[in-house]
């Protein structure tokens, strides 16, 4: 059994309104060294496979097909082996 931790953010070229709002709030709280905040999504997928290479390919395909919209988002993931 494997677990994929997937992180999705808006592409760097796209302005992130939620990130900017939080950035301003952090700066108002006195965290004035905050340079930038980007807000995204975190998705955990548990997948019942035995080969890590197969898991990598499947997770990548899931990201491209459904979990992200490549027009506006980018993604990264890590895969961990977990017990059932």
């Amino acid at each position: 059994m494997f677990k994929a931790n997937i992180n999705i953010t808006l592409k760097k070229s796209i302005s992130d309104p939620a990130g900017i709002a939080v950035q301003n709030s952090l700066q108002n709280l006195g965290f004035d060294t905050v340079e930038k905040v980007r807000i995204g999504k975190y998705i955990e997928v548990y997948i019942n496979e035995t080969e890590i290479e197969i898991v990598k390919n499947k997770i990548d395909e899931m990201c491209r097909k459904l979990l992200t919209n490549p027009i506006m988002e980018e993604y990264s993931f890590e895969i961990l082996e977990v017990s059932k």
Binding site: L10, I14, S15, P17, A18, L66, L67, I71
Partner: protein
């Protein structure tokens, strides 16, 4: 002319669209349930209504795009069938690549629910032929993710092919950042595909199709497609 109104779990403007087609413009209409693998050849125009299909949990329109009915609608559209996506329906059309671009969160982070002036920049389409060129109309908007985004090369293609149909403006037709409610590129409120048989827009014409509701500027979108279809 026969219309189909698709019902996804979370659609909430399906009944309004059905009512406008049946009672206001008096055409035949039927609901289409999202799980149905239905033959759509009996339909002349499919409406993807507004709402929050599948709760919009992953992204607006992302899950709906893979529902059973959508593969049939894609086929219908690729064969020249007329498809209009309103609000969440527009988001579903971009997610399914029947229309280019994407809709991201409104720039000001607010869910906007208000009346909005829009300019009909292209009236030479099946959907807008009853408006005059550059006519300013009033349509309600209600969305949190209506900020239209498209990469520059594709934006240029939209401009070159006259695929930009509606732009947000003020009552005098000024198109600027000040008259842009959600941050959309070029104040875009509605676009068509290259063949003009697929139309997506964020404003809700079905909510402004009867004067008893305060404005009936939206009705001519539905009347336009009927007129176009019957005079082909």
């Amino acid at each position: 002319m026969k219309f189909g109104v698709v019902v996804f779990p979370g659609s909430n403007c399906d009944t309004d669209c059905f009512h406008v087609i049946k009672d206001v413009i008096e055409q035949e209409v039927e609901y289409i349930w999202h799980q149905e693998n239905k033959d759509l050849s009996n339909f002349d125009c499919i409406i993807l209504p507004g709402g929050f299909s599948y709760g919009d949990y992953l992204r607006a329109g992302a899950i709906a795009r893979f529902s059973n009915v959508m593969s049939k609608i894609e086929e219908f559209a690729y064969n020249g069938g007329y498809v209009i996506g309103i609000c969440n329906g527009f988001q579903i059309l971009t997610e399914s690549h029947l229309l280019p671009g994407a809709l991201i969160k409104n720039k000001n982070l607010k869910f906007i629910c208000s009346d909005q002036y829009v300019k009909v920049v292209n009236n030479q389409t099946p959907w807008t032929n009853l408006y005059s060129k550059d006519e300013i109309i009033n349509l309600p908007i209600a969305h949190g993710e209506g900020n239209y985004y498209i990469e520059e090369i594709q934006l240029q293609q939209l401009i070159d092919n006259n695929q930009i149909i509606l732009q947000y403006c003020d009552k005098n037709g000024n198109i600027s950042e000040k008259t842009n409610p959600n941050g959309s590129i070029l104040n875009i409120a509605g676009i068509c595909n290259k063949d003009f048989n697929v139309f997506g827009l964020m404003p809700h014409p079905e909510r402004s199709s009867e004067s008893i509701l305060g404005c009936d500027d939206g009705r001519r979108i539905f009347n336009s497609i009927v007129k176009y279809y019957l005079s082909r």
